[in-house]
Amino acid sequence: MIPDPLNRQARTVNRRLIQSLFRPYLPTVIAGFIALLGVDGLQLFIPRVIKAAVDDLGHGLAGPASLLHQGAIIAAMGIGVFVCRYGWRRLLLGTSRRIERDIRARLYDAILGLDAPFFHKNSPGEIIALASNDLNAVQMALGMGLVALVDAVVMTLACITFMLAMDPYLTLMAVLPLPFLALATAFLSRRIHYHFNSVQKRFADLSEFGRRSFAAIRLVKATNIAARQVRDFDAVGRGYVDENISLAVVQGLLFPLSVLVAALCLLMVLFFGGRLVISGGISVGSFVAFISYLFMLTWPMMAFGWVVNLFQRGMASLARIMAVIATRPLIVAPAVAVAVVPESEVRIEVRDLRVDAGAGRLLDGVSFTAGRGLLGIVGPTGAGKSVLAAVMARVLPVDDGHYFINDVDVNRLDPGDCRALFALVPQQSLLFADTIHNNIAFARPDAGRDEIEAAAKTAAIHAEIMAMPGGYETIIGERGVSLSGGQKQRLALARALVAGRPVLIIDDGLAAVDTATEQRIVKNLRQTFRSRTCIVISHRLAVLGEADTIIVLEHGRISASGGHEELLAVNSYYARVAAWQNGAEEGRNAP
């Protein structure tokens, strides 16, 4: 879905977008460009003052007063250049950073609005790359790229105009090598881009290799494979080195090549211009002027290749970002939303639900109802349990007529109101790099400390939190305390409990908790299970001891449902798992 080539449509969208992004900063940008032109103008003028001073000295026209005057003018213009340079850097580069901020905000807004299918298609890595690498490319193009482009165009146009006015033939000769530079630059910058990407990829491989070895240090030590790891690491490192050298070969060509072409232009003027002077075609003055203009052209010539490359990348990146911003969520509020009627009991009805969530995760005609009490769902991996949980919690879209809450089709309800009925403990307990207090209070920011502690006690994590150095104010995550899988799951459970929502869904959320703790949690939840609509998905039948009904989900279908005894009698999967988990002999020998 993230487009690669820059087609015409994307270009139009980009142009319109750039216009809208620049609009708030238009006066700033105009002022910035005026400052930039000021630098160019003053810089063209300073050499003339120097020339005048030297000429005066040569002709004996200079006096102490005139020298002081000329020195003062140069210094004053130097200060003028300083002010103008300061100005355009702040105004133009500053604007590019502000626009970067605005785009990032719009991108984040867009991401917040999108739903699950988008995140299945685009990995977190890809989205992060949009917000970092791609946005960086856009900022570079809009900042330094734009400045260099304007500067190069102005300088080139000025120089070429002056040269044309002096002698069209010599101008033609002087610019003859330029198309060659343009072609070579276009070719080489593509190669550079290619090699640059593979260097980046090798670098990522190298880091990933290191990461995996360090993360698995116990295995490395236990199997004594350190020597082999080092050998493999060296091989990956060698690949990185080689790729860097390939890049250096192309890069080593590009820059000297533009210097060479600039020298060739000079050579053309030296040879043909020199002949013209000798044969009386042009004056010596024009010849010298030609050469000084060519010197001035050297920098823009070197910059052009770089700028074009910068712009191409920036615009391609902007198109990718734009595609995400333009994506619309699949779950949208209906034009006229039916208000969710607060009732003491939330009844859920799933009717012939069919979902294809991609990657073979699907539901194929699932129907059931759930009200106050505990509904258990069991089934093998890949049976569609998590998809079902996501649909129920209103994060996966559903067609009309398949999912009802208190007898109202969910598509007629506002999705936000609908989600507000549910508390979810997801399979991967996703916590945030924040304090423990804030992680639990994430579900309800106004929850008091007593409520949070109560939830933590129910989730059997309170004692462990208190044992941490900062208690509830301990920061967790990359920069703070790292938690075990079981601790994370229990925090996620506490978070769901503190929300106080009428429906609780636990999607295999206790798998990493040890048996003894799990038992305590199930006991603590007994009251919750009785007073709310609870749906618990688990591999562990012991967790479902309180369930009024248990559904067995296999291959996206309900293969059986009912109470424990009933299922033991009618469902072979259930019986097998139950027997095995109870440690009965027949379970051990079952297939």
């Binding site: 020195g71 991401i111 199997t223 050298i245 000297p256 210097v259 994060v395 798998a511």
Partner: protein, 599 residues
Amino acid sequence: MRHNFGYFEDDRGAGITEARLWRRIMVYVRPQWRSIVIAIILTQVVVAASLTLPWLVREALDRFITATGITTAVRFAGLERLALVFLVLALIAFIANFFQVVILERSGQEIMHRLRHDIFAHLLGLDLAFYDKNPVGRLVTRLSNDIQNMHEMFTSVIVSLFNDILRMTVILVLLFIMNPLLAAIMLALLPVLVVIIALFSRLARRVFRDIRTAIAGLNAFIQESVNGMNVIRIFAAEGRNRKRFSRLNADFCRRNLRQIGIFAFFMPLIELCATVAVALIIWYGGGRVMRGMMTIGTLAAFLHYIRLFFQPVRELSQKYSIVQSAMASAERLFAILDTVPGITPAGSCTITAPAGAVEFSKVTFAYGDNPPVLQDFSLTIKAGETVAVVGATGSGKTTLINLIERFYQPRTGEIRIDGVNVGDIDPGLLSRYLGLVLQEVILLPATVRENITLGREVDDALLARVVEQAQLLPLLATMPQGLETRVGLGGRVLSVGEEQLLALARALAGDPRIFLLDEATASIDSATEILIERAIANTIADRTAIVVAHRLSTVRHADRILVMDQGKIIESGSHDELMAKGGRYAALIAGDRFCVSAP
């Protein structure tokens, strides 16, 4: 391709002095000295050629183009000759420049490759206590960013810095020869420049560090939001997240604007210094020309050279920052190389006929400065015995495995295998006596066969047996290339359960005497769990086995079950014995039975 945005950058400590740091860096540079000298020579060639080109133009102008005294034919011929020299010089400059870039890059890469090798090898040799203190993200940063910083110094600074300093010195000497007084005045500008550059690089370094920290935080926040989108959605936290994001985003932007402000002030300031120098030359030098104390040619030369002098100054400050940051990185890297393992070096004992008896004798152990996990702990496990260890998280179960594997060293007491202290056993042999299966499986990006053998010599008969015992045959049947199928990064994706089976096969392939099993708690469906359990049963038959059980379904058949609580064994016996006793174990089992607990 996953990125780690946990950005780690600490300030320089006062550990190693600058001189010692350079000496250690030079150890790595020395093998490449020939290439570096060639690169420096090539750079001189480039500079010389590019300085000669304008001189050639002047020659052509003076000797042929404006020389009206000689015939037109001679003027044409002379011009042609000079044009040819010009062309040759331009080509020489091009070629020299190209080779200089490539040679320098290659030697820089070779230096970094060696350093990276040393760091990685040294890190793998450090003990687990070191890894507990240093998060993986930080170590990866050392290996990637810190080495990258040093590489940047090598390629973009060292040689050009050498050239810049050389060029500036030569220019200053030339100025002094031409006119000492005016040169002295120019020299007076130097301290001003040094102060400006020092101040600039300090500010720039600080602001860049702020920016890097901010972008790391910002990206981490986006990543968190993307991963946790369902949670955010369910708990209606969009608004709060947007607010937090907007704060981080604005903060990042503000720091960038500050950087722009600093650069916007200092970069033109250096230019201003150059312009002021020009103005001074015009005013003061012009006066001396008027009084006949200096020629116009000298004045023109002064103006020309002062421009050449200021060219490198502009970049000097940036280069100074690069050197600073590279030195900070170097210090962090050498600090790693200086870290000695906290475990006494292993001995070289062998056990002639390993039977597999394990003994803990009065062991006291703590992780770092934490309170002890084990205190005066003793335990004897007979050869061939299967022992299951149960207990709550943090009761010390996994610690037993850590100590047998010698990941850590006990404070007091000994762990013995067949009567020999594990610290005295040759590490290569120890790893062969022990077969460890961890909760988390690491797959190498290689074939199934390589993942099982791990480079050890495993004959085909053993491999076939291992694959069968580990219940891998059904999985291999689905793979067209069988054992040669690539798995891991870039290969076929395996489920958690399949990875567990592979890990068992891996341990079996070493044909160990003692099996150490840290049972997985990940959510594996029961069908796979049954398969794994059967593989485990095959694995531990006729071997000593220590199973840390998080699930109770696997422990019943153990010869002995240990119930641990706070580093102590509170119950010990067979399943039937412990059930009859009606203690903690019996309570755990009762609770785990389905539909029995509801009172």
